[in-house]
């Protein structure tokens, strides 16, 4: 279906990433945010609080991020599309409820506008150091989707993708921004509502007597039932059977948890979005995401001007990780350069995926600013010299 025009602010705007993400959510049909103020993400909810009375929906400022991250799930079961917005310290508090959203299969979106950590860290300065937390932060085994925009325009566009994926796969989606992308202001073009494809909430058409809350369909995803329609469904964070009843034993655990993982893994090809440039004949590929990809762009251009064949692979989807893509790449290139605003997180995934086929060069930066392009260029030059091919 197409977007509801009430939430779509069609036109050409000059917005920062936080505001653009808010507009993306409104366009995607988000009508409920529960949130708690935290720099550098607060502008998302500030705009939502201002906009939502015009659109028809609710913003609730909660007492903390724990409350925010579960209030949105209440709203989802009541029929709304919902999200919450935070940064590192708040994201840490939300971990248990990311697990609940995974376990109870609650479509919703968590925005993390990343800042430097650990702890209170650098509230106003950028980092990309919550990438592993987005993947593994909640306890237990699970698969998760995490998207990484690198511009205000993409904060808008990819936010719609985030909501659509959350509905399609009945799973929480992590929207991993960073302070730079959140606070940079650029042109954002918002199309008309009829140009925006929306995945609506899919409710079961079965009768209450036939319906089982967690009976998977052919693609491993159970159908939701509408609140108040006599389904009398039961939702729990305990390991449960197809009825949604607690079933705490080895068999139920295996059946449920493997389905939760497989329902995402089987669609990796569709979920993983990568922006490429100059990959075909590249000797060295720079693999980056978020704001770092904008800095890497300069390094790539500089390297090319020196006559090197350098490709760009930008991960718009970081989780699930593009294992197969990276493996293919590793067979063709000398080196993969991985700059990121952390001590080296996604580079571990790259190293794992290349299976020793090529060199992997980490370009860490602990946040508080962004890389100097020269650092990335240096790594590119190093990669071009060495290598196994």
């Amino acid at each position: 279906m197409k977007a509801d025009p009430k939430g779509v602010l069609t036109g050409t705007h000059y917005l920062d990433g936080d505001h653009a993400a808010c507009e993306g959510a409104l366009a995607a049909g988000c009508r409920y945010i529960a949130g708690y103020p935290i720099t550098p993400s607060t502008e998302v909810v500030e705009r939502f609080a201002g906009r939502i009375p015009c659109v028809g929906g609710i913003f609730m400022q909660m007492e903390d991020e724990i409350a925010s991250s579960i209030a949105i799930q209440g709203a989802v079961w009541a029929g709304a599309k919902a999200m919450t917005v935070t940064s590192g310290p708040g994201f840490s508090l939300m971990m248990e409820h990311i697990g609940l959203a995974i376990m109870a299969e609650v479509p919703c979106v968590f925005i993390n506008v990343q800042r430097g950590g650990p702890s209170t860290g650098l509230p106003t300065l950028p980092a990309q150091s919550d990438m592993m937390q987005a993947r593994w932060g909640s306890h237990g085994d699970y698969e998760v989707i995490a998207l990484c925009p690198n511009s205000p325009q993409e904060c808008f566009d990819l936010m719609i993708t985030a909501f659509n994926m959350s509905e399609r796969f009945r799973t929480p989606v992590m929207f991993m921004m960073d302070e730079c992308v959140g606070h940079m202001t650029e042109r954002v073009i918002i199309p008309s509502a009829d140009k925006i494809d929306i995945v609506p909430r899919k409710y079961t058409k079965k009768s209450p007597s036939e319906y089982k809350a967690y009976q998977p369909n052919e693609v491993l995803i159970p159908e939701m039932a509408e609140l108040g329609k006599g389904y009398n469904f039961h939702i729990t964070g305990l390991t449960h059977d197809e009825k949604g009843y607690p079933a705490m034993n080895e068999d139920s655990q295996k059946k449920l948890v493997s389905r939760l993982i497989n329902k995402i893994q089987q669609y990796k090809k569709e979920i993983i979005l990568i922006e490429e440039d100059g990959i075909k004949d590249a000797e060295v590929v720079v693999m980056s995401y978020g704001i770092t990809s904008r800095v890497a762009e300069k390094a790539i251009l500089d390297a090319r001007s020196k006559g090197l064949k350098v490709g760009k692979a930008r991960l718009k989807t970081v989780w699930p990780f593009a294992d197969e893509y990276v493996l293919d790449l590793s067979k063709k290139v000398k080196a993969i350069v991985v700059p990121e605003l952390n001590a080296g997180q996604i580079v571990r995934e790259v190293e794992r995926a290349v299976k020793g086929n090529c060199e992997v060069i980490s370009v860490p930066h602990l946040g508080g600013g962004v890389h100097k392009p020269e650092l990335i260029l240096e790594a590119i030059l190093k990669g071009a010299k060495g290598g196994k091919h």
Binding site: P53, A75, A80
Partner: protein, 304 residues
């Protein structure tokens, strides 16, 4: 053929019986009183949602045959706030224990009271964390023996009616599981109340709290409740604290009319703020025409 169905069985997930509560535990009695109250309220069953947290009482949501949510530890209230906000016509009942609602969830409890969220909160208070083996909770009376206070508890417990009133609850009552009729009546009144209504249900935990404190079995404890509860409707909630082996006050303490709920306040405020209402009603409220500005960039809202 004789009808052997219990008249309230429609409220029960019979396929989940028997329940997991211990002999002498009061949670089943509290749930039974709730089913009676729900029946008497005449509320459409499909329009009712029950939300629990974690713990022994947290299992109530799993046994009631309504749309029901067994959420995370301490967070039944904020879950319910989102549920209610997006579905204002649903009657949302939070049914959980003292450890869940007051100890770990205390912050959510006071804020929901402050905002007058339209929720009925039923708290079964068995004076300890039962599911995890009987540890000291925020409601454990001083000098009680618990698993994590083996020499006796020495911290002052919360007085729940006082806490509820101070937070802004519009209805506050306390009964024990001995007072089944009063309990049903209080639950019925709470269900019919708009705003944050609170019913505390004092219950034995014979397996853990009563055993460790040598207070006898469930029946002995019922006799204790009978002999030691002081009926005092309208009592000052400063006087409703619970001390070990001492008489305590039960009754209806607070019953306020006319205080606007969160959603009523929100809708009223927006009605007054935005004179140019478009009249568009969503399930969440009203849509208004307004303008916001951000950093000097004025963004007009779409008017359809």
């Amino acid at each position: 053929m004789e009808n052997t169905k219990h008249p309230l069985s429609k409220y029960l997930r019979e396929d989940r019986m028997p329940h997991m509560w211990c002999p002498g535990c009061g949670i089943g009695t509290a749930m039974n009183a709730f089913m009676h109250a729900l029946d008497k309220s005449g509320m459409e069953k499909n329009n009712v949602a029950v939300v629990s947290g974690i713990g022994c009482t947290g299992r109530v949501a799993g046994y009631l045959n309504v749309d029901s949510f067994h959420t995370t530890h301490g967070r039944a209230i904020p879950f319910s706030e989102g549920l209610k906000a997006a579905s204002p016509d649903t009657k949302v009942i939070v049914f959980s224990g003292d450890g869940d609602l007051i100890s770990i969830g205390g912050n959510h409890f006071i804020h929901a009271g402050r905002k007058n969220m339209d929720l009925t909160v039923i708290c079964v208070n068995n004076l300890n964390y039962a599911m995890t083996g009987g540890q000291v909770s925020a409601t454990t009376p001083v000098r009680s023996i618990t698993a994590t206070a083996p020499h006796g508890s020495f911290t002052t417990p919360f007085n729940l009616p006082f806490l509820a009133e101070a937070s802004g609850a519009v209805y506050v009552a306390r009964w024990t599981v001995y007072h089944v009729r009063d309990l049903q009546k209080a639950m019925l009144e709470a269900l019919n109340k708009k705003g944050f209504s609170f019913v505390e249900v004092i219950s034995p935990c014979p397996t853990l709290y009563e055993r460790r404190n040598k207070m006898g079995d469930g029946l002995t404890r019922m006799k204790f409740y009978k002999d030691n509860s002081i009926l005092k409707n309208g009592a000052d909630t400063k006087e409703t604290n619970i001390e070990i082996n001492k008489p305590f006050v039960v009754g209806k303490f607070i019953d306020i009319e006319g205080k606007p709920t969160y959603l009523e306040s929100m809708n009223k405020y927006y009605d007054e703020t935005f004179q140019c209402e478009l009249g568009y009603k969503t399930y969440k409220g009203t849509r208004y025409s307004c303008n916001i500005s951000d950093g000097g960039v004025s963004e007009g809202c779409m008017d359809d």
